[in-house]
């Protein structure tokens, strides 16, 4: 009688917070060091804004000294947001207000989101009857851009994380 194969025990791979990793790998650093060593240069890393929320600042720590060059190794100083937080969809919501005309709101939805008239009217009526409507969902930066455009048309618009 054959035995049922024992379940293979697997370990979940360690979770790596990729956002905390500087893009410079050790391999690249070594190669760069070699090149610089040949050229006798001094290298210092500085990394500009990656993203508003994933700003990685590199502090300098002297690591290698040789006669004509010093390589300074980057160390991550701060990390504000995780990838999950950045990639989580955000909703663009328009709220009802008693002043903006219905025809105006419909026109704005058509212009900002490129929606056909029927869809724009559907959202406008949703705002009118339910007090709010989700106009778009997606990445945060684009959602912010849409809200900025909607504010430019003086609509009451906000972004919020999807639940």
């Amino acid at each position: 009688m054959a035995r049922a194969p024992s379940p293979i025990k697997t370990r979940a791979p360690p979770r790596i917070n990729r956002m905390a990793q500087p893009r410079t790998t050790a391999k690249n650093t070594r190669a760069a060091t070699e090149r610089l060593k040949e050229q006798g240069c001094v290298l210092a890393f500085s990394m500009s804004r990656l993203h508003r929320k994933q700003q990685a600042t590199f502090a300098v720590t002297p690591l290698i000294d040789f006669p004509h060059a010093t390589l300074e190794m980057p160390t991550v100083e701060q990390e504000e947001a995780t990838r999950q937080e950045i990639e989580m969809p955000w909703n663009v919501i328009v709220h009802n207000d008693p002043v903006n005309l219905m025809s105006y709101v419909t026109m704005v939805f058509q212009r900002v989101f490129g929606y056909p008239r029927e869809r724009a009217e559907k959202h406008m009526l949703e705002v009118h009857h339910n007090g709010r409507s989700i106009l778009w969902s997606g990445v945060r930066e684009r959602a912010e851009l849409y809200v900025q455009q909607l504010h430019g048309y003086l609509l009451l618009a906000t972004i919020e994380k999807t639940v």
């Binding site: 508003r52 207000d97 008693p98 002043v99 903006n100 005309l101 025809s103 105006y104 026109m107 912010e144 809200v147 900025q148 504010h151 430019g152 048309y153 003086l154 009451l156 618009a157 906000t158 972004i159 919020e160």
Partner: protein
């Protein structure tokens, strides 16, 4: 008063002095001035108050852009309104020509004015639906009439834009 489309412009003919004066007030009414309520409505928050970072960044980076955008629209309207400097009889009716290219600026300025006035006076929904209230009586009644008159103009401009599009 008569409004019609004339080539690439909207023409308001036989504008009586009272309505002409209300139109002259569009650029000034569009400013939040000292009204905190109007300021908050024109530059509303982009997210719930819990999103403190986003709201703070918005004030620094986006609000100045919006302010410039709104200012630019009211300046265009102000220039168009110079036509209302009637040089003839003091209480004569005037004509106003709004180029279609300025339609967006007019929509924005009229909207700014309507929102700012409504926020300043805190008109209720019921008041805003009262289209038959006389403008004579109090400053509040006049302002409500102003909101409705500007809304009527907005509606007409929108119809013409859509007809054009």
């Amino acid at each position: 008063m008569e409004i019609c489309r004339q080539d690439e412009a909207l023409e308001i003919r036989e504008l009586d002095p009272f309505l002409a004066e209300l139109l002259r007030q569009v650029p000034d009414s569009a400013q939040a001035k000292d009204s905190q309520a109007a300021e908050e409505r024109l530059f509303s928050a982009p997210a719930a108050p819990e999103e403190k970072d986003l709201c703070a960044e918005w004030k620094v980076y986006v609000v100045p852009e919006l302010r410039r955008l709104f200012q630019s629209a009211t300046e265009t309207v102000r220039q168009d309104l110079e036509q209302l400097q009637c040089t003839g009889k003091p209480f004569a009716n005037c004509n106003l020509r709004i180029p279609l290219a300025h339609a967006d600026a007019w929509l924005s300025a009229l909207n700014q004015a309507r929102l700012a006035i409504t926020a300043s006076y805190q008109f209720s929904d019921h008041e805003l639906c009262d289209h038959y209230r006389s403008p004579l009586g109090s400053r509040r009644d006049l302002s409500l009439f102003q909101v409705n008159f500007y809304g009527f103009l907005q509606e007409f401009i929108l119809r013409e834009i859509e007809g054009n599009g």
